[in-house]
């Protein structure tokens, strides 16, 4: 049995989506418990990806392939998790703030977060504070992520956080910020809960917020 967990973990680590999906299906066919496939196989593989990325032994294109493999596995697993009442580790509302049309950085964080087990609600770019507030009300996320690429638009993060406070929703969510000009000091100054310097760091932070790291 554990041999199959190991193979799933390896398929994720080596970024092989089809193989990951096949192996997850094989595990289900053999009667393995969905939650255990997730915890003992997939999450282990993705954890190793994080370790190697930080050590400089893996690079972003490979990490994304691993995230893809994770998603492919989850696609097979998700109905079984839902059926057995197991929830994903959390929900994230993610957007690029008002005035900023940059999409890529946020998309990368989304991919990484999905890869590490979150449901991600992407509200797109140039998202004004009202859009964040509506999404929080609708999806009840654990985490809100904001992205900005420019020094001129990063101020909109502060405005958005303020608007979330005024809407009385600040206590319900953890807020993380990121993007090229952002650093930890800025995050603290505007009242965010944390900052991720790159996509894997963002998903690590989200996992920490929900107590899964």
């Amino acid at each position: 049995m554990s041999r199959l967990y190991e193979r799933i973990s390896t398929a994720i680590l080596e970024g092989e989506p089809e193989k990951a999906a096949d192996l997850v299906q094989k595990g289900l066919d053999q009667g393995l418990v969905a939650k255990e496939i997730l915890d003992n196989g997939m999450v282990v593989g993705m954890g190793e990806v994080g370790v190697r990325f930080k050590a400089g032994d893996m690079f972003v294109p490979e990490v994304l392939m691993s995230a893809d493999a994770m998603q492919a596995g989850l696609y097979v697993l998700r109905p079984h998790l839902v059926a057995s009442g197991v929830k994903l580790i959390g929900t994230i509302v993610m957007g690029t703030v008002k005035g900023d049309l940059h999409d890529i950085g946020k998309n990368l964080v989304n991919m990484m977060c999905e890869g590490s087990g979150f449901q991600v609600i992407d509200i797109g770019f140039n998202a004004d504070p009202e859009k964040f507030i509506e999404a929080i009300k609708e999806h009840q996320p654990d985490v809100v992520g904001m992205s900005a690429m420019l020094t001129t638009t990063m101020r909109a993060m502060a405005h958005t956080i303020k608007a979330i406070e005024e809407a009385g929703l600040r206590d319900q969510v953890k807020i993380m910020v990121g993007g090229a000009p952002v650093d930890a000091a800025f995050a603290e100054r505007i009242g965010a809960d944390g900052y991720g310097s790159n996509a894997p760091a963002g998903s690590d932070l989200a996992r920490k917020f929900v107590g899964a790291a």
């Binding site: 690079f59 294109p61 490979e62 049309l101 650093d183 310097s197």
Partner: protein, 486 residues
Amino acid sequence: MRANYQVNSGVRFQMLSNDQLQEMFESVLHLLEYTGLDVYHDEGREILKKAGAWVEGKRVRLPSYLVKDALAKAPRSFTLWARDGNPKHNIHIGPGRAHFGPGPTCPNFIDVETLERRLYVKADVPLVAKVVDALPNIDFCESLGTVNDVHHELGALYEFAGMFPNTSKPIVAWSYDRFDSAGIHEIAVAEAGGQAAFEKRPNYVHYCEPLSPLVSTFEALDKLVFAARHRVPLIFTPCPIAGGTAPVTAAGIVIQGAAESWMGLTLAQAIQPGLPFFMGGVYSVMDMSSMILAYGAPELPLMMAGITELAHFAGLPLWQTGGCTDSKTFDEQAIIEGSMSVFFSALTGGDLTHDVGYTESAMTGSVFQLAAMDEAIGYSRRITRGIEVNEDTLAVDVIHNVGPNGHYLREAHTRRYYRNEFWYPKLCDRRNYEEWEMMGQTTFKDRTVARVQDILSTHQPSAIKPETEKVIEKVLAEAEDRVKEK
């Protein structure tokens, strides 16, 4: 299929025009024919005379046809082989290929533990060889020092005996005399599996140094004769100093140095036609205030570019110089001088570029400078590799598919190329401020020291054959016996 499509696959660099090179070439022939050199080796003069040289006393002049004949006999392309057959450690000499390695014979060394300057000792040799073996952009090995703690006649032999087991990269060996040379050769041949096997796959190169201006010393030629007879690839490298032992002008030093090398070439090819031969060597200025041979002067890479272009014009590979500094310590000056010269060496295609890791104008060897230059060489090599243009690298379809405001990180095209298209630094830091802070706020110098110490504690070079170990013991014992009365 394309027709008449010109490809420039790397960065092109040429300083001198073909007309200028032709003029320099003719000037070297003129010097050899009309001025000649003093040759302090009786047998060498005899061999040259028999080949057609004009000999009067010690003075030997070479008719130009003789030099051209020797140039025609020497190969431009050949391979220096890793002793263990590791193809990554082979060196393919040929047009457009630059290679790098340390230099020999510094009296002092930067201690790898204390980082302090002290005399170079026998125990330093294996450390340098290990670091050379591990660094990806260092291609051949020299020891960065003269062993001070053995009998004063045996430094070169102990040096080779210490390097050979600790790197499988080809070694450039110098020696005091032909006894050393014979001992070194015995060790190398034992590993190669006999003289015939060695001739097919030579695993070391013999280094000899004539004297500027215009002298072929007894020692240089005696070693040359030995190496040529045993078909050991040869480096014959003068070290002229502009304004001191050579003309002050770059053009003048280049032609004088070439004449000094080509006397060795002519003798070597008379003994062993077809012998791989590198002309040399170290060309720089005498600093007119400190009186040193400046290893960090801009004239060094400039003059080296001149002699490299002349060597390649004449069809010979060149023993080049770079990665060295006049700085006394591992500081910004060391990095600037070293990096600029290795970049120039890479651009000019210096066939074997030595003295990487020299500090204090060749007075002190430093594996830290060597490791820092490994990074600079990697950086330079990425640039000289140039831009590849073809349908796949143009990526027109990939751009079309990704479209506006998409991204390329997930493309198979990206995954296929990102490792080779980009160079990844080992010592230069690209992390963000927080990560850098978290990792201890290290400087380039800290990381270089850490890398060297990591290599020394973890790297395992491939072993030599047990029978070669016995030969090393025997050769050293015989040498000790030979010099015990001296």
